[in-house]
């Protein structure tokens, strides 16, 4: 099953749900499939571990990464690059907007609401049931309505991103799939895909999933670890 996404895709979710890891890997996956991809870092709330950490790898692959100017990259300032609005207007084959966490992080989308008017797009909620406040479907539904209220945009789909980073096992992926599927049932949203870390690919039977799978090559690593090469 292939991931069926193009056009404008907005990645949202609660704080630490894995939005950036999903955005970066989704960009690389679509790019390798021949789709022209632009990725915009709209995370105005997180000080470390943002899309910008993977910018060199992404640019080497030919993916355009839209970021605040280099000299403000480590400033504690909410800078929204003007190119973002342009990217939406120009209708590249695929534009991924990686937002910050929670309703606070999604507020930035309200400033783009005018630009999004009359354009078709997808807005996905990334969920990891091993994170605080989203261990239950009720918690995910609450975050969903908070993000929708702050962004003034309706959610269209779900990304299941169950993981414990280095300690993830196949069982976590299966439980996470069931969780995401239940969230999809209760919310009426489409489960677009679930993620599997590359190192677990051989251990996970993806035939159990009624949705596509995105392989995650981890990019946001602490300085004593190496990011996995993107292709």
């Amino acid at each position: 099953m292939k991931i069926d996404l193009d056009g404008i895709v907005i990645i949202t979710g609660n704080y630490g749900s894995g939005k950036t890891e999903v955005s970066v890997n989704l960009a690389a996956e679509r790019n390798s499939g021949g789709t022209e991809v632009r990725l915009a870092d709209l995370d105005l709330v997180n000080p470390y571990f943002r899309t910008r950490e993977a910018r060199h790898q992404l640019r080497n692959l030919g993916i355009e990464v839209i970021l605040p100017p280099e000299q403000y990259m480590t400033a504690d300032l909410p800078i929204l690059a003007p190119q973002v609005a342009g990217a939406i207007r120009e209708q590249t084959a695929m534009v991924i907007l990686d937002t910050g966490g929670d309703d606070v992080g999604a507020t930035v989308l309200a400033t783009l609401a005018d630009r999004l008017q009359g354009i078709s797009f997808k807005m996905l909620q990334v969920v990891n049931p091993f994170r605080p406040f989203t261990e239950t479907v009720e918690g995910c539904l609450k975050i969903k309505s908070e993000i929708e209220a702050a962004s003034k945009v309706e959610m269209t789909g779900i990304v299941g991103n169950a993981n414990l980073i280095d300690e993830t096992q196949a069982g976590h992926i299966y439980d996470g799939y069931e969780f995401a599927a239940e969230f999809a049932r209760q919310s009426g949203l489409k489960l677009e895909f679930v993620t599997v870390p590359e190192i677990l690919k051989a251990d996970v039977d993806t035939g159990r999933f009624a949705c596509p799978v995105l392989t995650i090559k981890r990019q946001l690593v602490p300085p004593w670890k190496q990011a996995v090469a993107l292709t």
Binding site: G16, P47, N163, D166
Partner: protein, 349 residues
């Protein structure tokens, strides 16, 4: 209990709740603001209090007040905010009040930057505020260790009736790792009827307790300082914590490094070992008391020719290492202090 995936800052907040600390006063500052964000949601769920002060100075006196009244209380901040709290912390040490202060360090001096740093080593271990006092300082290297140190910090603060500091760099606050909260580390507050101003009703006492740091009589002030000194001497005897890595090898170089910097060193040590070069490491888990004897013993072996202090500062811990080694071996420094964390490759070089 099953593991959850948490940011260091969130885990620090949750660890306080699991330690029975339901009083949190703070003022936001990057890179520790997630503690306040997390506890703003969690404290109401558990019947606790999160109150944002109008400044870090105000926060430090909210902490003083709650501690004086005998409550478990803590705060979190980052470097410039801790500077502002230093006056209140000095008062608390003088008045012998227990509390936990978390510093998720960012670059300095001044406003510095928001990236990780370890440049508050002097501040935490030697010069936090005026007067003759010390903090018990613990430095976690992982999110799990931050949780465990938090859960240990409250009973230690109460044992010594002294503020305890958790000193983490920005990475400890911002990185995500799987954690669990061990029930075995849950503690009940010590009985503080003898000193806390918790009200005569709750204490069932006829005598009034007074918490103060003012001693106008020179002999009384000298005696108070002697009492504080005896507590710091007891900490040196009883609370030293450290971790040794690859010290059973015939290492030529001994690294001393703490916090997340030590994890970079670990990766470097592993890669050098693969190339046939042996390097040992002592990681202080307490910075005060400092593992002086352990570092001296590890340096004073024939195969060790040099000791290296590797820190995200311009050479602060190196002074404690030199004091520990007592001139028996040369002590060198390597570090960076602009927010970039030194890479394993740079440590190897």
């Amino acid at each position: 209990m099953s593991k959850v995936l948490m940011k260091g800052n969130e885990a620090i907040g949750e660890a306080a709740i699991r330690s029975g600390c339901l009083n949190y006063f703070a003022y936001p500052i990057t890179p520790q603001s997630e503690v306040a964000e997390y506890l703003a949601r969690r404290m109401p769920e558990v019947g606790g209090v999160f109150l944002q002060g109008e400044s870090e100075v105000a926060v430090s006196y909210m902490i003083f007040g709650a501690a004086a009244a005998g409550a478990r209380v803590f705060t979190t901040s980052s470097s410039p905010g801790i500077s502002l709290m230093s006056e209140g912390i000095s008062y608390m040490a003088g008045a012998q009040c227990p509390a936990v202060f978390v510093n998720i360090m960012r670059g300095g001096p001044g406003l510095g930057g928001i990236l990780p740093s370890q440049a508050d080593y002097f501040q935490a271990t030697k010069s936090l505020g005026h007067g003759d006092f010390r903090l018990l300082v613990m430095a976690p290297a992982s999110v799990q260790e931050a949780v465990e140190m938090m859960m240990d910090a409250f009973p230690l603060a109460e044992k010594y009736r002294n503020p305890v500091m958790i000193l983490g760099d920005g990475l400890i606050g911002q990185m995500m790792e799987p954690v669990e909260f061990p029930d075995s580390k849950k503690t009940e507050p010590l009985n503080n009827d003898a000193w806390a101003t918790s009200g005569l009703d709750t204490r069932k006492s006829d005598t009034r307790n007074l918490v103060k740091s003012l001693f106008l009589d020179p002999e009384a002030l000298n005696n108070n300082n002697l009492l504080l000194k005896s507590k710091y001497e007891q900490m040196k005897r009883e609370e030293v914590r450290f971790e040794a890595y690859n010290t059973d090898s015939a290492y030529n170089v001994l690294i001393v490094s703490y916090g997340t910097m030590s994890r970079v060193c670990r990766t470097a040590i592993d890669s050098m070992k693969a190339d046939g070069i042996e390097v040992g490491m002592i990681r202080p888990q307490t910075l005060f008391p400092f593992p002086e004897d352990q570092i001296r013993a590890a340096a004073d072996v024939t195969h060790c020719s040099v000791v290296a202090s590797i820190e995200m500062s311009m050479g602060q811990m190196i002074e404690d290492i030199e004091r520990s080694v007592q001139g028996k071996k040369p002590v060198k420094w390597f570090g960076k202090c602009g927010g970039d964390v030194p890479t394993p490759e740079e440590v190897v070089a």
